[in-house]
């Protein structure tokens, strides 16, 4: 691990610079987000991002990678994910295929000789079969191998098993992995690591302790307007304001799942496609399924739509 950060990380010189850089690639940051990324780069710590689904946790990693011009290595976690799928795998099929092809010519290759000589011959081939030729790097190893650094996104870590979480600890603190047949591979440049979690389960204390923690919640009115404007450039200003005010009001209702930023963006896109100019009751009713994903929520909100639409109209005018 070199002490001099690569050129790409130098860009992360201050929280403000990070905020501006992210804005340049269409991600509207907050001071807290920028600060967490800044500290992550300075202290070389992974960032664990928690928050409801669809508030831009994954997108932050993607935007960071494109802002820094670094490759993004993404590891999607799920139940049953193990080292073979996360770190590296021997190309078993290829190894087997090669042995099958060689089987015919085994006599030629090995030649005659006593048992000792044959074993000696064979062990030469072992090294061939367990070389980097037959190594399939998975996201974690890929991230470590990048010579200019990388952004490593470990997505939805809460979906993985506890065993996998424990396995991650070594990589996150040492930035190196040990492959028995090849030895220890350490990162030339430690990647910027971002972990996300939807809090499906409580993460272990050991993991939390090694990470900086960042909570991204639902955005406030102003930030949401900026985000929707950045993502849906074609939207009229008046419609945008009403739409965001409406979504913000919906989050105040008692619902099973609150609409997140990604849903507001989808809704804005839908309304633009429909050439909507104002937010009318009927329009809201017919497109509400873009915003709310549970029928019970849609039913619960239905009677309140007129009031919410009026409030959104008033709120955005004043």
């Amino acid at each position: 691990m070199s002490d001099h950060p690569p050129a790409a990380y130098e860009t992360l010189s201050s929280p403000t610079a990070i905020g501006e850089g992210l804005a340049g690639v269409g991600y509207i940051s907050t001071p807290d987000i920028s600060m967490a990324l800044f500290l992550a780069a300075k202290l070389r710590k992974p960032v664990l991002i928690e928050g409801p689904a669809g508030v831009g946790k994954t997108d932050l990693a993607r935007s960071l990678a494109s802002f820094l011009g670094l490759p993004l290595c993404r590891l999607q976690c799920y139940e049953g994910l193990d080292e073979a799928k996360a770190l590296y795998e021997w190309k078993y099929g290829k190894q087997l295929l090669y042995t099958q092809l060689l089987k015919e010519r085994l006599d030629e290759v090995l030649g005659d000789g006593d048992f000792d000589a044959l074993t000696g011959q064979l062990s030469r081939f072992e090294d061939v079969f367990f070389s980097e030729n037959f190594l399939a790097p998975r996201p974690l190893l890929t991230a470590l191998q990048q010579s200019d650094g990388a952004v490593l996104l470990i997505d939805e870590i809460d979906k993985s098993d506890e065993a996998f979480e424990a396995f991650l600890l070594e990589i996150l603190s040492e930035f190196q992995v040990t492959i028995p047949e090849l030895g220890t591979l350490s990162a030339q440049v430690p990647p910027l690591v971002i972990l996300t979690s939807n809090a499906a389960r409580d993460l272990g204390d050991a993991l939390k302790r090694r990470c900086l923690h960042l909570f991204i919640g639902f955005p406030d009115l102003e930030r949401e307007q900026k985000i929707v404007r950045a993502r849906v450039p074609g939207i009229e200003d008046a419609l945008l304001k009403r739409l965001v005010a409406f979504v913000q009001a919906v989050r105040g209702e008692d619902l099973r799942k609150y609409p997140s930023i990604s849903e507001s963006v989808d809704w804005a896109q839908a309304l633009v496609l429909l050439h909507a100019e104002a937010l009318g009751e009927d329009l809201v009713r017919s497109t509400l399924n873009v915003l709310l994903k549970h029928q019970s929520d849609i039913d619960a909100l239905d009677p309140k739509i007129p009031a919410l639409v009026r409030a959104a109209a008033n709120g955005s005018n004043s």
């Binding site: 139940e79 098993d161 939390k208 900086l212 923690h213």
Partner: protein, 445 residues
């Protein structure tokens, strides 16, 4: 106070409020502060937050404590290097002069120092604020001031009177400041500890002796317990063991000439708990039922399948009542609906076998919560033994202490041989321990 000392104090405040901050995290926080500096409070806050608080619940505590802790000008006094020290410390000699000088910063520094001397950080209960305020006054040198006051009063001159009044006012002002200071310190260092202390007491208190006022406070406690149990037993289902599943591999590759291209590994499935709970909801046991059901309800996903039955006289299934949102109301209703009859275990067991016998299979834990007092009716131990034999394990949770089992109409000794565990549960802690044991049986199959 230096920046590091301020940080250390803040970390100990967080710890006292039950936010676990490890030394490693404190070092991270110090590193973060070194990077952003101490000048901007907003920056300090957003730099400390990712390093110190690691969950959303902790976030709220962090916000509250940050405002309280750093409101007492820890930073301003760091900034201009403690004016009290700079201009020859008027605080040491003359408290009166200090109060009258109107130098806020100097007074704050003096209070801060007196607070250190009086060890106000050790405060645990709100009732101690007066005590610590007095200790602070002493540390501030109020005794000299009182001697002056006595002198001035004894002089019996108009100047003396005026001076006495001045001293009394100053003393009152300082006392007020000292009290404010200790109250704030209590908020920072004490309230969390008081909360923990109260919870410890509640958890150990006999459930039968709880009054209604305690219920509201029990709820978060039960949730905490449930969370602990879920963390221990929840979501550990499939894991690759690394062993080759030879049978499946051979079968899958039969078409490939027996060359094992597709390899299958053995998988372990961890089964989640299936529980059947039979609750005696008559008078004395009702409170225990409330907490057992609440605890089970809070376990949520950890328990795959929970079926609950309530009885005093006749038996009824209450599973659906429990799955509604208004849990508290549902329990009240259950207690009212089933709690009236006179207790008859025999009848309840008959009802369970006749109508719901399929509920119990070999994956099921059969939990009975009751005191076993059956009003001298037939205990139907034969039915109980059949049900118990079918279950994975049978646990009887009894609120009565073992000494009373078998006394009067208690049928505990007749049921006991068929149970895997008979546990006396009198407090929430007992309940947690019993459930821990039940869930532990659902290991990797």
């Amino acid at each position: 106070m230096t920046g590091t000392a301020a940080l250390a104090g803040f970390v100990s405040a967080l710890r006292s409020a039950d936010v676990s901050v490890s030394p490693a995290e404190a070092i991270d926080a110090a590193g973060a502060l070194a990077v952003v500096g101490y000048t901007d409070k907003g920056l300090v806050k957003s730099a400390l937050r990712p390093a110190l608080c690691k969950s959303t619940e902790d976030g709220a505590v962090f916000d509250r404590l940050f405002e309280l802790y750093f409101s007492r000008a820890a930073f301003s006094s760091t900034g201009d290097a403690a004016p009290g020290e700079a201009d020859g410390a008027p605080a040491e000699g003359d408290l009166l002069a200090l109060v009258n000088s109107g130098d806020e910063a100097a007074l704050a520094t003096a209070l801060e120092r007196a607070g250190e001397a009086a060890r106000v950080k050790d405060i645990r209960f709100s009732t101690q604020t007066a005590f610590y305020a007095q200790k602070m006054l002493k540390a501030l040198g109020v005794e000299a001031m009182e001697a002056d006051l006595l002198e001035a009063l004894q002089a019996r001159t108009p100047e003396g009177e005026a001076r006495a009044k001045e001293i009394i006012d100053a003393r009152r002002a300082v006392l007020k400041r000292a009290r404010e200071y200790t109250e704030r310190q209590y908020e920072v260092f004490g309230s969390g500890r008081t909360q923990t202390f109260r919870e410890e007491i509640l958890a150990g208190k006999s459930i039968g002796a709880l009054d209604r006022a305690d219920y509201a406070r029990m709820r978060p406690l039960v949730e905490k317990m449930a969370k602990r149990l879920s963390a221990k037993y929840g979501r550990r289902r499939k894991m690759k063991t690394g062993a080759l599943d030879v049978r499946r591999t051979v079968r899958a590759n039969a078409g490939l000439g027996g060359v094992p291209f597709n390899v299958h590994w053995k998988k372990r499935a961890r089964d989640r708990a299936k529980l059947v709970v039979l609750c005696d909801v008559s008078g004395s046991v009702a409170q225990y039922v409330r907490f057992l059901l609440l605890l089970l309800h809070c376990l949520g996903e950890t328990v795959e399948d929970l079926r609950a039955f309530a009885f005093s006289g006749h038996l009824g299934e209450i599973t659906d009542d429990l799955n509604t949102d208004g849990f508290e109301g549902a329990v009240e209703q259950i207690l009212r609906r089933y709690g009236m009859g006179s207790t008859d275990y025999g009848q309840a067991l008959q009802g369970l076998e006749a109508n719901h016998s399929s509920a119990i299979d070999r994956q099921t834990s059969f939990i009975v919560l009751g005191d076993g007092r059956s009003n001298y009716g037939d205990p139907c131990t034969d039915i109980f033994s059949r049900l118990a034999a079918r279950a994975k394990q049978t646990i009887w949770l009894c609120p009565e202490p073992p000494a009373l089992w078998g006394s009067g109409d208690s049928e505990m000794p007749s049921y006991r041989p068929y149970c895997d565990v008979v546990a006396n549960v009198s407090s929430l802690t007992d309940l947690e321990r019993a459930l821990d044991r039940i869930l532990a049986r659902y290991g990797v199959a």
